[in-house]
Amino acid sequence: MLIFENISLALSGLKSNKTRTLLTMLGIIIGIASVIAVMTVGNSMKNSVTSSMEGMGVHNITVGIKQKSSTRETTESGMTFRAGPRRQTLSKEDYITDDMMEQILSEYPNDIKAFSLTESVGNGKAKYRNLSANVTVTGVNDGYLTANDLTILSGRLFTEKDQKEGKKTAIVSDKFCENIFDGNPDRALGEQITVVLNNKYYHYTVVGVYEYEESAASFDMSSSEDVATQLYLPLKTAQEQNHNRNGFSQITIVASTETDVTAFLETVETYMNRRFYGKNENYEISAFSMESMVSSMTEMLSTISIAIAIIAGISLLVGGIGVMNIMLVSITERTREIGTRKALGAANSSIRLQFIVESVVICLLGGVLGILLGLALGLFAVRVMGYEGSPSVSSIAVSALFSTMIGVFFGYYPANKAAKMNPIDALRYE
């Protein structure tokens, strides 16, 4: 009961001193607002990135070669620096070969569902009679097609013969068909299309049409009309076209459903580095999965969050000291009031409660304003960045709790000072 009286008393006191109250709360407002804004942005980013990454297959492990970090060059002046990537210096023994994959498969037959292999050919224009569509031409193996869950709308996937003999067959998207075959996938089957790549003409026969999915992660700014969709070739066809007989700079291992991807990723990386790249001076194997990327991204975000939390903590500390200062001023100003209250029978505890409540009211009010401001800023920033806004509920709750705690913590000393005043000294105070 005394609490409610004290709250309304505190509020009326603060109302009559609006400017001062607002200035006092500023530190708290800024501190809380920055926490909430950063948390809102972080949370929204995490949510949308995580969900779009999860859509890309959690069982895929990407294995690639990367330059050894110990590779250094010494310049004439004797200074050492890290060599930049030198794609053109890749030599035959640097690539991941079919032979290696076979060995990995025989080593871990239960963990590997498939190898998803691609050979990038390039971007070009596909032509059929006088119609055309943009395509990204990629050679893929069967593992790729399973790993990426392509939905075939019409026709078929590549046959073993297509893959083995490097047939000039192609699988195109339904979007592609919209441009060229009036959106009728069945009409595309069996038709021969011409693809212009680097001013060279290639001819492929369409054997299948897959359903194009707009990926959430792609920030494709081009209009949906001329978006380049994937045109898949059998892997061997693409390799022959590229005159590539060496192997791959990057492969994807599709792990079995029951395999612990994070653990297996490290196993494969260690195995390959020891077995195939131990003697390689320039390159080593590096493996990652969506899961590991998501977790490293989450880790990065939480590191940022911690940094912000520390800054905000300092701001809140300063804000809290400001509140304490104002409370001390207010208590000095109201010394006679305190004396009067004591003369009327207020116990020390009542006086203490009155001023702690006042300090909590200031901090909590600052906290609420900070939360609102932080949400506004955070959600605005999230919208500008194009993510979906999802405020972090826990950080709002923690902020409210934290500002109450600041109020109690920094209000206690002044309140106690008021409570311990000698009634007659307080009454005589001028």
Binding site: T340, R341, K342
Partner: protein
């Protein structure tokens, strides 16, 4: 008068300030004073003679350096902080020269304050406060804050507040000191009514010989000692 209950019993009260310092100061030099239940006593004396210091000890706002004090049967010297606040809350009503109303708080809430500290419920509080406002003829102004009231009105609110918990004693330190004589007269009438109709024990400090003369007993303090005591007229002449 002797058969009445003893309300205030001060024995050998000494008050010193700056104890143990070179400028140690003895303000009260062994005061003995007894006030019975229902008495209306006035304390007079020159400025700086120690009247207020004595009054603060009577009101349990300050403790004497030496001496014994029993208030309505309670040993004040040995009482702890918490008991003292209870005593101030229930047994004593203070009226100050400077009113000491709580700023930014309406008159009614000011009157409710002692009841709030007593733990009385909201509705009961508000009802009693309104009754008291009627008693001091301030019911029309009860929602005004102190800065919207005149000195005399403020003092009437302060008296209503002093009466809030129906205390046995009212202590008034120059309650009319800041008021003109006509307004002071009204305040004085109010004290007489409280004394006669409700049997309140009243101790009044005043610089006005006429007002002192209206009380039942006049105690003269000089330089920290009681130098004289005489009967007053007891009742004021009606205007």
């Amino acid at each position: 008068m002797e058969d009445r209950k003893l309300m205030i019993d001060l024995r050998g009260i000494v008050k010193r300030f700056y104890i143990g310092q070179p400028n140690e100061l003895e303000i009260l030099h062994g005061i003995d004073l007894k006030v019975c239940d229902g008495e209306f006593v006035s304390i007079v004396g020159a400025s700086g003679s120690g009247k207020s210091t004595l009054m603060n000890i009577i009101g349990a706002l300050d403790k004497p350096t030496e001496g014994d004090y029993t208030l309505d049967g309670v040993n004040i010297i040995e009482a702890r902080d918490r008991e003292l606040s209870g005593i101030r809350n229930r047994k004593i009503g203070f009226v100050f020269q400077t009113y000491n109303l709580i700023a930014r708080t309406c008159a009614l809430k000011n009157v409710e304050l002692p009841m709030l500290y007593r733990g009385m419920g909201r509705r009961e509080r508000s009802m009693r406060a309104k009754e008291l406002m009627k008693l001091v003829e301030m019911e029309e102004r009860m929602n005004h804050t102190p800065d919207e009231l005149s000195g005399g009105q403020k003092q009437r609110v302060a008296i209503a507040r002093a009466m809030a918990n129906d205390p046995a004693i009212i202590l008034a330190d120059e309650p009319t000191g800041a008021l003109d004589s006509k307004t002071g007269r009204k305040i004085m009438d109010l004290f007489h009514r409280l004394n006669e109709e409700q049997g309140k024990t009243i101790v009044l400090i005043t610089h006005s010989p006429e007002l002192a003369q209206e009380t039942q007993r006049i105690i003269t303090v000089s330089d920290g000692s009681i130098i004289g005591e005489r009967k007053g007229d007891g009742k004021h002449a009606d205007i």
